[in-house]
Subunit: 141 residues, 2 copies
């Protein structure tokens, strides 16, 4: 088919049932989390099918913790939950993008707004930005 | 230590040698790709150590194709290379964020600006935006 410029893919579909591919990573898909207002990328996490369904159902970003091997409602400990404003799926259905309202202003356990606060400069990574909370207080360490 | 608000982490370091952790995903790290000007998230790809080093050396985004199991210089076929403007590393050194200038205006093989062009609405995913090129022409299918 030719170039139509219309909002549809090249098979001519413009919407379809959601079919995420969890197989490429052994049951997980990567989820990019972006601040809905600033556009800043806040973090990268992983979802299994259960986390995906919980996110859709509750409207709160829910992930799968590879370290703890459990479902992880983001902010359940710190109070810094993520209210999901928009969800996008990529072209081959193996990654998702969440646009969220980050309660508390910081997504990172270090207190920084974004987990991506290390800027590469030459051979080193330089910490940028200021923490907005003290993790020792938030996590009662 | 107390809350200082300074641009350093809680161990008091403000920069350090880059030590990416490729072990969590069997030699790969996820790379989020963001348009340097618009802030739009363009795609998610993976890097092995060789792809990471090629990206740093050449300034062109280079990934590892899991499907083809080879190094993949993004845009080598389509001409739509990604000029790296900034690189950030996340808090636990297992994911990177590239801010790029997307030559040709589209990152996705479908001709869309972003791979994340499927918007979730209820039970379906709806294609948003208009393709900026015809992949049949670009890839000579």
């Amino acid at each position: 088919m030719g170039f139509t410029g219309r909002a549809m893919d090249w098979e001519g579909r413009d919407n379809a049932m959601i079919k995420l591919n969890f197989n490429k990573m052994g049951g997980l898909i990567p989820a990019i989390v972006q601040d809905d207002k600033t556009g800043d990328v806040l973090m990268l996490a992983f979802m299994n099918k259960e986390a995906w369904e919980a996110t859709l159902k509750t409207g709160k970003a829910t992930y799968y913790s590879r370290t703890r091997q459990t479902l992880w409602i983001k902010g359940n400990t710190s109070g810094n939950v993520q209210i999901v404003k928009e969800i996008r799926i990529d072209c081959d259905d193996d990654a998702v993008l969440l646009k969220v309202e980050q309660v508390g202003g910081a997504a990172c356990h270090t207190g920084h707004r974004s987990c991506f606060h290390k800027l590469v400069e030459g051979e080193t990574a330089h910490i940028t930005g200021e923490p907005v909370f003290n993790p020792e207080e938030v996590y009662h360490k």
